[in-house]
Amino acid sequence: MKLKTTLLALAAATALTALAVPAAQAEDSVFVPLFTYRTGPFAGSGIFIADGMHDYLTMLNERDGGIGGVKIAVEECETGYDTKKGLECYEAVKPKNPVMVNPWSTGITLPLIPRAAVDKIPILSMAYGLSASAQGDTFPWIFNPPDTYWDGFSQIIKFIAAQEGGLDKLKGKKIGYIYLDAGYGREPLPFLDQLSKELGFEAKLYPVPAAEMQNQSAQWLNVRRDRPNYMIMYGWGAMQPTAIKEAVKTNYPMDKFISIWWPSEDDARGAGDGAKGFKMLNWHGSTPDFPVIKDIQKYVVDAGKSQSSKEKIGTTLYNRGVYNSMLIAEAIRTAQQVTGKKVVTGEDVRRGLEDLNIDAARLKALGMEGFTGPIKLSCSDHNGHHPTFVQQWDGTKYVKVSDWIEPLSDKVQPLLQADAKAYAEKNAPWPARTEACDARS
């Protein structure tokens, strides 16, 4: 009996896993898988992003019947931000000819980078993943607009400089950098080192091990001791609310505490009034007052087609998801224009991404006027290195407190080129770019 149970289980295993791969999608739709992480230690960020991405695409289906008359077949695959599950998702969706994959995890992106060219599936890792993949000549299949982490870092430095009255004023200042002690948080280290030498400020490092995200008092005691003039944070998931709380505890001046673009409203809210003044980078609106969000509410939320809780709609990370889906949709649309086909493939969408050019007019048409800035990609530049702005927590919501800040491209570009080169060498034989470049871009 017991034995039967086991054998049955195992038999079922094989059978079902074979079943688990249905046939390719019907011809009149484009298949867009969404890798989400509504579970696991980073769900706090993942849920909002997932909802945003999901709802925008659903809205397009509901309102416009898809893109260019073609329905978008949306399917979520839960990764739990775990690389192994992510790859499982990738293998699961591959047979259904996805036009693009959004891994939503640097860990999942990295193994996919070499595969993209082989499987002919473009990867859109929006403002995460491998910074060097901005170099379209080396990575024709990878796109990481609108900014790399290095761009972001340079923008924060520029903002700080602006507070102090010029880059030259940073000399002798102390800038602390608290970061998740993993690839993502460590990526800016060489850049920080270089900047501190060139600009003459002193850099203080406060690594937070992934296992200790919620136990940072030691790091913040160090902050108390060093008294840096500014704090920069590259945090993630549970690390962020904890960091903000600890900052409040140590009475660190919050308006001098600036994060990269990942914190959410909840992260700041948890720390109470003390968190007022906390700053973060962003490149899109963090309120629901935009036509596009209104449409989502009308066509998706009110129709009960959204998983999101009402009050989360229009928040920073939700809108981040919307923005990401907007890129997906626009890329597909551009691909349709370039190829003249309605049902586009991965190859077409890759071209679509390279030809992507969303100007002010288009933004208006999308109902995103003032939501974000124009964005343009090219064959050589898969990132765009677009300007971002700083928003500040006022106790209830984030408020834009700076103009658009351009990155220090002159400093970032060389790093990116060097890294792309290094990557190609380390992974030799790395295929040279064979994909043709459209005239448009």
Binding site: T6, L10, A12, A18, A92, K426, N427
Partner: protein, 357 residues
């Protein structure tokens, strides 16, 4: 009726001491082998790339841990880290000496993790039981910290990850993006079969007996001349060699790139599940355990879709956790000695079939 050893007389000790003394077992094994060989002809790419390859690799890792925990009775929660050592070693070696074939490095990396394993095995003479289990956590967290903190290990990649370069064997890609799942599957299969064969030789001989002696009654073992420390360290060495190889395979044949986090504490736990659910001190158990623990969640995830149900991806994930946990408890209650024991019982039943006993 069909599974009877009646009439199979052993005329030599050699025959009697062969690892599969019963004819039907040998036939069964042969059949499984054949099935494994022809599988890629029928199974889809998902089945090969995301089910079979990981299954083989995890099974190998559990064999490694089983040597330590199942045969020698030393519980370790550091398996993930030891897999990591293998992976990082293999990465360093293959990137430093690209000329030498990757398969060589996969095996050699085992020795590196072997050395580290022995180092962290040293306390095992004084520390016993759960105390030792927790002590191995020191290895887990320290090594993981090293994977992050020593950029030398990942060639100073700004991504902080190890990325698998594409390597070939007889002109066929075996690692990297252009290596087909089928190739990777056959490589993994070959290694797993080889290691399993060697391990089964080991555990059926003097070494295996002294492992088990230490596990069952270490004092008595001492009094018949078995050196405790030496034996325990040997167990650590063999075990971490195998886990190391498994780790290298995990990155080079399965993931393709990995951050330090791929070798985190959960990895260690999962392998431990496999060993215990599969059956302590049983090689076949390691395979059964790996199959159950790794493949079951995939089914749970796939099931709704295949039955045309639509459940939120998150809900499915939560259910997966729930069901996995429940099944672990269920199997422990049904048969604490693990799937391997069920296997034995099954064979016994077959032996006397159609009679109840």
């Amino acid at each position: 009726m069909f599974y009877r050893e009646a009439g199979q007389y052993k005329t030599t000790y050699q025959a009697d001491m062969s690892i599969f003394p019963i004819l039907q077992d040998r036939i069964g094994l042969a059949l499984i082998m054949v099935a494994a060989l022809v599988l890629p002809l029928f199974a889809g790419e998902f089945m090969i790339a995301s089910v079979m390859v990981p299954f083989l690799i995890l099974a190998l890792a559990s064999i490694g841990l089983n040597i330590l925990t199942g045969y020698t009775g030393l519980v370790s929660l550091g398996t993930g880290a030891f897999m990591g050592v293998g992976a990082y070693a293999c990465y360093k070696l293959s990137t430093t000496f690209p000329a030498i074939n990757i398969l060589v490095w996969i095996v050699v990396s085992g020795f590196v993790s072997c050395a580290v394993g022995v180092l962290f095995g040293l306390p095992s003479l004084r520390i016993k039981g759960f105390y030792l289990a927790v002590a191995t956590l020191a290895a887990q967290f320290f090594l993981q910290w090293c994977f992050v903190r020593l950029p030398w290990l990942y060639n100073y990649n700004p991504s902080g990850a190890i990325e698998v370069p594409s390597r070939t064997l007889f002109g066929i890609h075996v690692t990297g993006a252009s290596a087909t799942p089928t190739t990777r599957y056959y490589i993994a299969l070959a290694i797993v079969i080889a290691v399993t064969w060697i391990v089964s030789n080991l555990v059926h001989g003097r070494v295996g007996r002294s492992f088990m002696a230490v596990r069952d009654m270490d004092i008595a073992a001492q009094l018949i001349g078995i050196r405790l420390l030496r034996t325990k360290l040997l167990a650590f060495a063999v075990s971490s060699f195998i886990t190391g190889v498994a780790g290298a395979m995990m990155v080079f044949l399965w993931l393709g790139a990995a951050e330090a986090d791929a070798f985190n504490i959960n990895q260690s736990f999962v392998i431990l599940f496999m060993v215990i659910i599969g059956g302590l001190g049983s090689l076949i158990g390691s395979f059964l355990g790996a199959a159950l623990i790794y493949i079951m969640p995939i089914i749970v995830r796939a099931a709704p879709e295949s039955f045309g149900l639509t459940i939120g991806a998150a809900t499915v994930e939560h259910l997966t956790y729930l069901i996995t946990g429940a099944l672990i408890i269920f199997f422990l209650i049904v048969e604490p000695l693990g799937l391997a024991r069920l296997w034995q019982i099954g064979k016994q039943k077959l032996r006397v079939w159609p009679f109840p006993y």
